[in-house]
Subunit: 276 residues, 2 copies
């Protein structure tokens, strides 16, 4: 089964588009956890257990583990090994380099750490992304239109009659030979999201920016899903994992994930009903 | 002292523009090392000892360490701690993400691992690069024109009357408020290199692609250096570290590094004499 088919199956079986983003910043963890050795690992395991019922995917942000050095990388290994089998495991690592180096990153993350997918950066071009696409069952979400303030610096530059991010979407469509390419598209600009969905009607979109980054949920779901209300993962990180900074963070995260999952499904239903 | 001033001082004191790139692929190490635990660390330490006299900088390719998992990251920590004090230590990690994530990568690599500089990817724009520029003594080499086959996919797209890579060079000039920005420019296309040097007369250029990637050394040195024959690091990785695959790899690497350093200095001298 290709990665994109597996994503569709998971979304259907779990009846969820929610991706829970794990950005475990030691300085923001609940007080009672901060003194523990392996605090970020403990925190992530609690969040995963609390939200797994509502999540189609988990996205692990590598920077927060690397910030803890080799101990952090070791926690990343333990975490990757313990993620539930019925969710999509995404390495949010934003890698890409010349071919022989990307091949080593692909080995490290998709093979050795056994993630299902990775986020990659398109700037170096096709041969820098290809090593991440070599196994059809493993996927790559290519950065297309990001949600940060400086995203327009280059992504919005007009070229060949369209902004760069649209050319990236075009190219990634052509790279999708193994059925395992997706795009990262921020939820912060609805019209850009709509345009990308038009260019790439079937590619899975990984959509951050809902919640703490301020993207509007309704637009993200309506415009980001495909015609069947699928092929999208709506990512929320900080608004779930830091919902409470007290001892009730587990229950608070569980409630927030469930609320988001339900709300997303309501918007999907409404979209499909409008269509039919 | 800013990073760029420190680079100039190092180049002057060591009378070298050579950057030795450490891409230690376990599968390519000399046979007698492959069975050792920590083989890639042992290999790198031998190469460093052999080439430090000729090198102004060492560039450590993170992918080859991550490919060994947490043990690899631990070797990276040991290696970073043992690099000579009189060289520039570059983390070739190609990072960049939204601000709060880039901030964690900057902490991991420039603070915790104590590298002098890091390679970063411009696609996300200014706020993704800024966290790497927060300490004037630490620098960032921003990918501009890379040397891989697919580098033209996006970097050569015409926009605002010039290819994207030139717009990147323009922007990085404006980001250089702390005197700590540089550019990564492949040696494979001489005219592109010349154009970038024109746009950014003083920014340090990190120039890979000499040696195994086929870039012409003479053009790289003539066109990549500034008007004083400095502000450039000429990187060679595989052509030095894999010069011999036998037990004489240390001597072979030492000779190759010395030969390259000398040849680079001859070209610099010739350029300065032509000018005067």
């Amino acid at each position: 089964m290709t990665f994109n088919d597996r994503l569709a199956t998971t979304v259907s079986q779990k009846n969820s588009l929610l991706c829970v983003g794990l950005d475990p910043d030691l300085r923001r963890l609940p007080q009672h956890l901060q003194q523990e050795p392996n605090a970020i690992l403990l925190f992530c395991k609690e969040i995963i257990a609390a939200t797994a019922a509502s999540a189609a995917a988990f996205k692990i942000n590598f920077a927060f583990f690397e910030a803890e050095g080799s101990a952090g990388w070791s926690m990343l290994e333990q975490l990757a090994a313990e993620l539930p089998a019925d969710v999509i495991k995404i390495a949010d690592a934003k890698r890409a380099d010349i071919g022989n180096t990307s091949e080593r990153y692909a080995h490290a993350i998709l093979d050795r750490l056994d993630f299902d997918a990775i986020t990659v950066n398109p700037y170096l071009g096709r041969d820098a992304v290809e090593p991440f696409l070599q196994w059809p069952a493993r996927g790559a979400f290519v950065l297309c239109r990001t949600s940060n303030p400086g995203s327009g610096d280059f992504q919005q530059l007009q070229s060949q009659g369209q902004p760069l991010y649209q050319t990236v979407a075009d190219r990634v469509m052509s790279w999708n030979k193994n059925g395992n390419c997706g795009l990262v598209v921020g939820a912060t600009d609805a019209s850009d999201l709509a345009r990308i969905r038009e260019i790439s009607p079937t590619l899975p979109l990984l959509i951050p920016g809902v919640g703490a980054q301020g993207g509007a949920l309704e637009a993200a779901v309506r415009l980001g899903t495909d015609s069947e209300g699928g092929a999208a993962l709506i990512n929320s990180s900080r608004s779930i994992i830091y919902k409470s900074s007290g001892r009730d963070f587990v229950e608070a995260a569980a409630r927030e994930a469930q609320t988001l999952c339900t709300r997303i499904n309501e918007i999907r239903q409404a979209k499909l009903q409008t269509k039919s």
